[in-house]
Each structure stands twice: as C-alpha cells, then as structure tokens.
C-alpha cells in the first residue's frame, strides 16, 4: 500500500515492475494494491477447547480463496522519502503513525509488515554517513525489525533489477508468515481426537500442504497432500457423504498431480492419477445419481489432461502412447456415458415443486448437498427430503445441462492432441464420435463436414465395416440438412457391395434416389426424430421447389455401386483410322440402373460430340454385370503426333419431365482416386491371372497416340554395307507410289541419325549427286524435294556418303509426302511419313608409306644440297573390294623440284585387290640453295583413287612425305664412267672434283689397287682446287674380270680444311660414287643374246 498509481508516475512504474508482465522464471507471487482503508477478513474467535467441537464438513470452500486473495502474507508500505529530505523528522513521524494504523488493521493476524522508501537520488555508500543512523531511528519509531526496511532507488534504468532483488527479499519475509501459519495449524492438532475429529485431520493436512505450496516448498506440500489423501481414504464413506469425499479427493489429487508435474515427476503424477481413478471407479454412489459418478470421472480425466498439457507446454516431452489426448478422449467418453445414464435414470422426471438446489454454488463445504448443508452424520438422511433433492438434481441434469457443450470441446481437445502425436486413425475415430455428438446436438451440417474428412481414409484403407457405420450416419446427416449432392453420392455408395447393409436397406435408399430424380423429397432415414423430419422435409421441398441446378457427384472420392473404366482399344491409331473407345460400366447394385447419357471427355474437346451415348436401350445397366459401350471417332489431321487422353467419364441420370439432372463424374479413365478401391483389384499384380473378372484387372489404355497415315509408297535402298574411308559411297533410293492417288510434295531427308555422336557428325558428309562439287557438305541432306509421283510411278535418287573415319554409322532416310484423303467428310491433304535407317561400316581402303632413297636405291635420311634422290611411296590395299588408283602426283616444297618435266605417276590406272601393294617412284632434286643442317619437309604425295566397280567420282588422298636432313659439302665429286665395259678393253674413268666452298681446298687423293682392273693414272696425288673451280682426274681402266665388279676405291682427304668440314670425305663418296661396274666378257663372234643383255643393263642403271 502507499502507492498512488493514478497520480504519481514513479509509483505507477514501481507497481508495474512488480505486478505486470511477470515472466515464468520469477517467483510465483500474487500482488494486490491496497488502498489506505482496506479491511482484513474477520477472524474467528479462537476456540479454547476442541473437545465438544464437531466439524460439519471436510474442506471449507472459502479457505483457499481466503489465503490466496484476502489474507496478505506481507503488507508493504511504500513511502517517498530521501535520507536528506528537509522535513525528515515530520515525515518520520507520519510514517510511524501510518505503520501503527496498519498494524492495528491487521489485528491479530500474523501478516508481516515491511517498509520501502522510494528515493529519487542514488545514495553512494560511505558518503552519506547519516543514512544508517536515520534508518535505525526510523525502525525504532515504527517498531519494525531492521530487516523489514528497504530502500528502492527510483532511477529509470535499473528499476526492474531493483524490484527483482527487492521482490526476493520480500518473498522471504512472506514465507516466514506461511511458516508461522503452518505452526499454528500443527498446534491445533494436539487438541484433536480420533473419534470425532477425523475430518479435521484431513483438513489440517490439506492446509499444511497448501501453506507449504504457498511458501514454495513443493516437496513438503506433496508430502502433506499425500497424507491428506491417505487420511481421506480412511474416512468411512456411505452414499450420503460419498459425493463430498470424492470432490475433496479430486481437489487433493489435482494438487498432487500438478506438483508432481512441476517437480518433473510425470510418472508419479500418472500413477497417482491411475490410483485415484481405480479407487473411485467402483464407488458409483446411489443408482439414481449414477450420472454424477460419470460426470465426476469425466472431470477427473479432463483436469488431468489439462495438467498434463500444461506440463507439456512447460517442456515435458510426451510420446505417442502417453499424452494428454488419451485423457481428453476418456473424459469425452465418460461425458457421453454421463448423458446416456442420465437419460436412462431420469426418463420420467418431472419439474420440481420446491427449489432445494438453491445456494448450490456457494455452500460452506466442498461437495455437500444443498438440501442438507453442514450435516455431519452418516445416518441415512431424512427420506422424503433426500428423494426430492435427488429428483431435482436429476431434473437439472436432463433439462438444464447442455451435454453437447461439454462433450464437443473434449473431443476437440483430444483430436488436436492425437493429431500432434501422430495418431491419424485415433483422430479419425474421435472425429466420428464428435460428428455423432454434433448430430445429437442437431448440427448435422457440421457432423457431415467432419464425416466427409474421415470417410475418404476409411475408403482408401478399405475398412468397409467402419465405412458402413459412418456412411449410415453421414446419409442421415445429408438427409437432415437436405444436402442433395452429398445425399446422392452417399446413396450411390450405400447401394454398392462394399457397404455391409441389408438388401432392404439398399433398396430403400435406391427408392429415395428415384423419388429425388422425380422431384420428390426422399423418405427420412429410419430413427429420425419427428421434429427433425419436419424441418428436413421443409428443407427438401424448398430445395426441390425451386429450379434445381444440375447436381454433379464426384465419383472419384467414393466407392460407389457404379464403376467405370474407359479405355482406348489400342495405344496407337493412324490418323485415317477410327479411334475406338470402350466404356465398361459395372453395376454392383442388386437391380438395374438406367442412365440417360454417357460421355467420355478427352483433352481435345473436338471429339466430345462423338464420345457420347444417349440411346436409352444401351444404357440400362443390368445388376452385377458389366455393360460395355463402344464409341468411335475419326481423329483430326491436326492431332497427328499428339496424344489423346481420357480425362473423364460422365454419366447422367434423369427422368423425363423432371427438372433434376444428376451427373456422375469420374476423372481419368475411372480408376483414379478411391474409386478404384471399389474394385477388387489385386494387391499384387502377379496374381492377376487368378482373377476371373476382366473389369478388376484390366488396365485401361488412358491415352492413345495419333500416328501419321500409314504410307503406301515403297522405299528401297541399295548400298554397300561396307564403305571405304574417304570415298563417296553411293546410296540409291528407289520410290514407287502404290497409293490410290497422286503423291505430291515428296521430300526426302537423308543423313546421319540425329542421335549420333558429334564426332561422327563432323566426320561424315552426305550429299546428292548435284552437291558433290559443293564445298559445304554437312552430315544431313534435308527436305530434298522430289516433286510428285503419279499412281504406280517410280523414281530413283542417289545420295553420296563420305566417311572420314573408320566406324559404324546409322543413317536415316525420311520420305514425306501428302495424299488427298477423306477426313470428317471433306477432302484434306494428309501427310504421310515413312522412315528407314541403314547401317554403314566404314573401313580404311589402303595404307601408304613413303621412303626416300638415294639414286642407288638405298634408304636415305640425309641429302646434300644439289643432290638428286628418289621418293618412293608404297600403297598397300586393305579394302574388301578392288580399288583403282587413277593418278598420283607430288606436291613439293620450294627447295625441291621434280627431275624431268614429263615425270608420270608409276601407278596410274593400277587396280589393287586386298593385300596387293603398288609402288610409285619419283626422282627429285634438292636445290643448291637449301639451308644446310636443317630438316626439310618435302611436301605431300597426292593419290587419286576410286572403287573399281562403280562410277562414283575419284577422290584424292594426300600423304605427307618424310622430312630429310640437308647437308653441305665443300668438296663435291662427280664420276664419269660408261655404264659397262668389256674385258680387256680400255675403259675411261674421270672424277671431277669441284670446290663449292669459299677457301682453296688442299686434297690428298689416293686410288687403291683392285684385282679386277689394271689402270693408268695417278695412284696418289695432291690437288689444290680453288674456290668455285674444279679439277678433273682421269684414269684408263683395263678390266680383267667379267661381271659386276668392284671399281678401284677412291679416297679423298682434305688437307687444309675450312672449319666445320670433315677431313675425310669417305661417307660422301660412299653415297655418291658408283662402287661397281658391269664388265662384259669379250664377244665371241656376234652373239645377239649378249647384245640384248647389255642394253637391258643400261636401262637398269639409268632407272
């Protein structure tokens, strides 16, 4: 008290810091703002002796609220006073007076008093030495212990921190009050005896528990409450006081469970609750008030559910099999049982005469009867009054209690819990029960909404027993609310075989449907109360009286008595064929059902008018049979290449001269949604064979592809399966028109299959004969127009394919053309396509190796500038067919020239078969200007060739020539000698030694002796050759032997050599000088054979 929150802002802030927005981690305290003139509840005079005292009940109903709200544990007086206040003494005295007044108001209650000074300045310790002294005098003046004086500095920044600390100190004081009170209660106990005061034992333990709870000692509180519960059970109970005992037990049980949860002992809480229920479940009380027992049980479960839920919100983990939902569920079930028993026992209760229930809600003790309050006797009470009282309770129960308002919220709580703990099926079961409750409470539309949610799952899990029961209720609700669409759907389902209903029942429902179709209200479901029937009939007649908009029933969500399967007869149709659709309808109702129309919808609306059957004789569905309806349509040319898909089946039910039209709508081919569960489709398709009913196992063809018209143009392709790399392989295409009319706009596309690898695409060229000379040749020839073909005409086209790598290729030929056909009554140009593909394996036709050789046909890797040598390509054929080499030539680098202007290819027009080798030869001269000591790339060898057995053009293949090292020699030797000599006939031999260098060459020449010759000339000589000049050394040889004989060997060595020159010229001489010469035997007579031989040898040496 002492805070003026309406006028002083600081006081308001202090009050709010204490009392508002308290977080859960702060000490649980209850604050009240007292005005200066508050009053305490009066205290009863203290009893001197308990000897003659007989308690009138167990727990007083006002005691708990007295200690919670009316008797303060601590009164805190707030006062604005700074230590250095100018009128310190006056204010001190004022304060003392106030404290004294307060103490007198508190009277003999032990409520503590504390004083809080609200100070504006912050006192710095040590500076204000007068503070301690002033505090002491203040305490003395007010007669308060020093510990009960506090200072609250009022600065905005830390107010909350100060209040929290202050609050802790204050609650300590408050707890001493409760400790004092418990001592007071204990003191009473000594006066009690066990014969008359048993009720007081219970009451005292409860008080001790409660006070301990108030002083935040949960352990002690539980102990006392448990003791209390135990003592309570020891009380003798009869029908007279049972109600009081169980109400008190409920309170104590609630306290124990709640504290157990708070102390994180959920197991203890649950077992306490179990014990509680087990102990009281059998104690039902008087039969006339049995519903009170169930009401009590329901309440117990509900309260425990609430306590449990509160603990879960506080962080307690709950599991699927143990969570508050189970308790709400049980509470709801007991609430239902309560109403059921109430209606049974109070069947013929009449309105009471007197009002014995007056003051029921404000009795002095918990759980007593209002007509005999405070009566403490176990004797049977006054018979007459008791009976009247019971009757009034009964009357109240059935007439004034709205049971549904209790039951529905309980189901709702349970449902949200079961949803949270992943129990969808229990949740559904509860929803059914809740729907039943709504139905009882005459709220059929809510019930129907709930049931619609549930039924889908029962259908898809095929729990027909559950669906049957739910469906009956739903049908009833649909009737009550005149929900025509639902009514129709449910009725069709009701009539099916899956619902376990009698034939009479099904017939009754069918009759109702027929009535509806004729525009009459259906008959009420059996057991509908008359007042509901009146309302429902009214609703139906209003509905049917007006123009009824067409009713569409979504069959996909039901397991109805009519099932459909719409299927194309094939999965592909050519555009000039009629597309067939078969609709199978199975009627599983016990008698025939007639439809007025049946249609199939596809993704293309243009066929809708063809996919319609309206002949009534075809639409009579015999019971238990499958009716097949065949529909056809001719596809449109625009749909070629597209897929036509069944998107739905629609059946129409109506009766002539009735405005009501009902459409039954299936999506897809009829096996989507839960509809398919109506059929006995095998769970394992492997066992389909064992099924006899085609309807159940047939898989509808839901979509069909519209193909181009079947072409009637023959296409033949002629080609060699094996191609040679580089060649133009001809592929001949022959077309013949066997259509019945002119084929126009013929266009051919030929090329590498589009799925081929990119590398192949780059290594393949395709062209027509006219495109052979073109530079830009790709791997495709597209839309090569070929005009038109009359009936029976033929034409041929040749394509050429060049493969640049040896691998397999797939080439496709596509022939497109149009022919006029009749479609939908008009003549349209129908495109036709035929495609063929061919495989070609390409292989390398030949291998070319090129050698360079000296004029002596020896392999050569180095060559001197100005030297002539040979280029010899060898062509080895590995082709499977003979090839013809048409020509060959050299494409030479600048430094090399071909010797002889008319040099011709040696392999021209040579035909090679597999394994054969052709050798070409060219003589070339290396220019003198060639850079010495460098590798010289000679150029390329170009070979023109073709397949021998066809007329495709020759193609050229270039092969790189090997490279050679260029040498430079300062000294060069030429030899002049006749190609042959004759034995014993002198033969002239001359060596011309030239100096190509820039220095004078000093040479030592040595001519060795030879057995085959005698010779005349220098054997050993020194020569000096000036730069750019040459010297000639001549010999006359006299051959001694015939044959290819060794010439005398010439050696040259350089005496004064220029740098970089080898001193010996042996290597060069060995390469360029002839080593042998043919010597003929002396002619004996004029032998022609010898003469011809000598001419042949001459040619050999030259070549």
């Amino acid at each position: 008290m002492g805070l003026n929150i309406t006028e002083k802002a600081t006081h308001k802030a202090v009050w709010e810091a204490f009392a508002l927005n308290r977080r859960t981690d702060r000490t649980p305290l209850h604050f009240r703002l007292f005005s200066n003139d508050f009053q305490m509840p009066p205290m009863k005079p203290k009893r001197q002796s308990y000897e003659w005292y007989v308690p009138k009940g167990i727990l007083k109903s006002n005691w708990i609220s007295k200690y919670l709200y009316h008797v303060p544990a601590l009164v805190v007086l707030f006062y604005d006073l700074d230590w250095n206040d100018t009128s310190w003494t006056d204010k001190k005295n004022d304060l003392a007076t106030r404290v004294h007044t307060l103490k007198s108001v508190l009277g003999s209650r032990n409520s503590r008093v504390a004083l809080v000074l609200i100070q504006s300045g912050i006192s710095v310790p040590g500076e204000d030495t007068g503070a301690a002294e002033k505090a002491a005098t203040l305490c003395t003046a007010c007669d308060l212990p020093a510990k009960h004086l506090f200072v609250l500095p009022h600065s905005d920044a830390h107010l909350l921190g100060y209040t929290v600390r202050l609050e802790n100190a204050l609650s300590e004081i408050a707890w001493t009050f409760y400790l004092g009170e418990t001592k007071g209660v204990r003191a009473h106990r000594d006066f009690l005896n066990k014969t008359t005061h048993t009720l007081l034992f219970v009451r005292h333990q409860f008080k001790l528990g409660f006070l301990n709870e108030l002083r935040n000692d949960s352990q002690a509180a539980i102990k006392h409450y448990a003791q209390c519960y135990h003592l309570l059970l020891d009380l003798r109970s009869t029908d007279t006081n049972l109600h009081e005992i169980r109400i008190v037990a409920a309170v104590v049980n609630y306290k124990i469970c709640r504290l157990d949860f708070a102390l994180n002992l959920p197991r203890d809480a649950i077992s306490q609750f179990r014990r509680h229920i087990d102990l009281f479940r059998q104690r039902t009380g008087p039969k006339e008030l049995i519903f009170e027992h169930y009401a009590w049980l329901s309440k117990q479960y509900q309260i425990f559910g609430d306590v449990f839920e509160e603990a879960v919100r506080g962080g307690l983990p709950a599991v699927q099999t143990q969570h508050p939902g189970f308790y709400y569920q049980q509470a709801a079930q007991y609430a239902v049982l309560r109403r059921k028993t109430a209606l049974q026992v109070c069947k013929d209760v009449s309105a009471p005469v007197s009002d014995l229930l007056e003051g029921w809600s404000k009795l002095e003790f918990y759980g007593q009867r209002p007509w005999r309050p405070g009566k403490r006797s176990l004797e049977p009470p006054e018979q007459q009054r008791e009976a009247e009282g019971i009757m009034e309770v009964q009357y109240h129960e059935v007439k004034e209690v709205n049971h549904s308002n209790t039951i529905i919220p309980l189901f709702s709580s349970a449902i949200s819990q079961f949803k949270k703990y992943r129990c969808p099926r229990i949740k559904r079961h509860l929803m059914v029960q809740m729907a039943e409750e709504y139905h009882q409470a005459n709220d059929s539309s809510k019930a129907l909404t709930l049931l619609n949610h549930v039924m889908w799952d029962y259908r898809s899990e095929k729990w027909w027993s559950l669906l049957s029961s739910v469906s009956a209720l739903a049908l009833q609700c649909a009737y009550n609310t005149a929900a025509i669409t639902e009514y129709f759907g449910l009725a069709l389902e009701f009539m099916g075989t899956k619902l376990m209903r009698s034939e009479e029942d099904k017939k009754r429902v069918h009759d109702n449907l027929l009535k509806l179709l004729n525009g009459q209200s259906p008959d009420p479901e059996p057991g509908t109360p008359p007042e509901v029937v009146t309302v429902a009939t009214e609703a139906w007649s209003v509905l049917l009286g007006s123009q009824v908009s067409p009713v569409t029933v979504d069959m996909t969500t039901l397991v109805p008595c009519l099932e459909v399967r719409a299927s194309f007869t094939q999965s592909q149709f050519h555009v000039d064929q009629e597309v067939g659709v078969i609709v199978m309808i199975r009627n599983s109702y016990q008698s025939a059902i007639s439809l007025s129309a049946l249609s199939v919808t596809t993704n293309s609306p243009s066929y809708s008018d063809r996919l319609l059957e309206t002949q009534p004789e075809k639409l009579i569905l015999s019971p238990g049979k499958v009716t097949e309806i065949h529909l056809t349509f001719l596809p449109l040319v625009e749909d070629v290449g597209k897929k036509v898909k069944v998107t739905g089946v629609r059946a129409q039910m109506d009766v002539p001269n009735s405005s009501l039209v009902v459409s039954l709508q299936w999506s897809g081919p009829g096996n989507e949604g839960v509809t398919m569960h109506a059929a006995n489709t095998p769970a394992f398709p492997e066992f389909s064979l064992l099924y006899k009913d085609k309807f159940d196992i047939s898989l509808p063809i839901a979509e069909t592809e519209i193909l181009p018209r079947q072409p009637r143009l023959t296409v033949q392709i002629e080609h060699d399966n094996t191609a040679l790399v580089w060649e133009w392989l001809p592929v001949k295409v022959f077309l013949k028109n066997i259509e019945e009319s002119l084929a126009s706009d013929i266009s051919l596309s030929f090329g590498l299959d589009p799925s081929s690898h990119i590398n192949l695409e780059l290594a393949t060229q395709v062209c027509t004969s006219s495109g052979l000379l073109s530079d830009k040749i790709g791997s495709q020839v597209s839309s090569f127009s070929n005009g038109e073909l009359g009936v029976g005409e033929e034409s041929a086209v040749t394509f050429y394919v060049k493969s640049l790598t040896a691998s397999e290729r797939v080439l496709t030929l596509k022939v497109e053309y149009t022919v006029p056909v009749l479609s939908g009554g008009s003549l349209v140009h129908c495109p036709c396509v035929c495609e063929k593909s061919i495989h070609i394996q390409a292989r390398i036709p030949f291998q070319v190796t090129v050698e360079t050789q000296s004029l002596k046909f020896e392999k050569l890797a180095r060559v001197a500038a100005g030297e002539s040598f040979l280029v010899v390509p060898k062509i080895k054929c590995i082709s499977h067919v003979p090839i013809t080499l048409t020509n060959s030539s050299l494409a030479l680098a600048n430094e090399v020239n071909q010797v002889g202007t008319e040099a011709k290819s040696q392999v021209m027009n040579t035909v090679l078969s597999e394994g054969e080798i052709g050798v070409d030869c060219f003589c070339v001269l290396l220019s003198k200007k060639a850079t010495p000591n460098s590798a010289l790339t000679l150029g390329q060898y170009v070979l023109y060739w073709k397949r021998s057995d066809n007329d495709s053009p020759a193609v050229s293949v270039s092969v790189g020539l090997p490279s050679l090292m260029v040498e430079h020699w300062g000294v060069w030797v030429d030899c002049e000698i006749a190609p042959q000599g004759t034995v014993r006939t002198p033969l002239a031999l001359a060596y011309i030694i030239s100096n190509h260098g820039v220095h004078t060459a000093e040479l030592a020449l040595n001519m060795q002796v030879s057995d085959a010759f005698m010779y005349a000339g220098h054997k050993e000589v020194r020569l000096r050759v000036l730069p750019g000049c040459s010297e000639q050394v001549t010999y006359t040889l006299y051959p001694l032997l015939a044959g290819n004989v060794h010439l005398p060997k010439l050696t040259l060595s350089v005496e004064s050599h220029s740098p970089g020159q080898p001193t010996s010229l042996d290597a060069l001489l060995a390469r360029i000088l002839p080593t042998h010469v043919y010597i003929m035997p002396q002619a004996k007579g004029n032998d022609p054979a010898v003469a011809s031989l000598s001419t042949r040898v001459t040619t050999m040496v030259v070549s």
């Binding site: 099999t321 189970f326 129990c423 099926r425 095929k462 729990w463 027993s465 769970a683």
Partner: protein, 139 residues
Amino acid sequence: TMAVCVAVIGKENSPLYVWVGSGREELHLHYLAHTGLDVIQEKVAAVNKTPGDTRELYLGLLYASEEYKVFGYTTNTRIKFVIITDAANTTLRDNEIRMMFRRLHNMYTNVVCNPFYIPGEQITSREFDQGVGALVAGN
C-alpha cells in the same frame, strides 16, 4: 477366453480378417484394431531408421484403454496382426501374447501357402477360422 478380437491387416493397412468375440461391441473393436495401426506404423518406422539388425516382429502393447488392451505384431512382409484383450484380464502374461501372435503368424503362413488364396484378399478359410477359434479359446 484369451482375446476378444483378432485382426489380420494387409500391407496397405486394409483388413484381411477380423474376428470379434461374440457378445462384444463389434464396431468398437474394429475401431480399436484400426487405430492400433497408428502405433504400429510409428514403431515400425522407428526401427527402420536403424538398419541392420533383424527386427523383432512382436511389437508389444500398443495402447490400453479402460476396457481393452491392444497388442501388435508385424511380419516382414508388412502384414500386421492385432490382438485385443480385456483390460480386466490381468492373468495374461506378455509371453502368452507373444505365443499367440506366433501361432497366428503360422496360421497366416498356411493361408498364404494355399495356391487358391490370392495374397491381399480377405481371408475366407474354414481352417483359419478354426485356428483363430482355438487360439482365442486358449487351447
């Protein structure tokens, strides 16, 4: 009797066979057998998270109401068995329940071995009926 309800439930949770003791609330027991699937599903899912070991087929007590106790069992082919007993029947030990399930499993195996039985269909077999009768009678 040992049990008041015996149910065989297919792999897609549809009932293949439900036996309810005579004089019992048939619909209520059907609901109980059905709702037991919630707990079975959770238990099976929890086991599947830790692969490797062969699974215990007997799932134990699924849940208990004031009147009934619901027990569950699942085969490796995801066929579920549910047995419901009276909550008042306190003499029944866990081992006996386990044995009942094992017998039921054997009986089911015999049904499936019948070449005329199509797996996934409702079980209509006199032998199975008799077997269940013997099972619930406790002999």
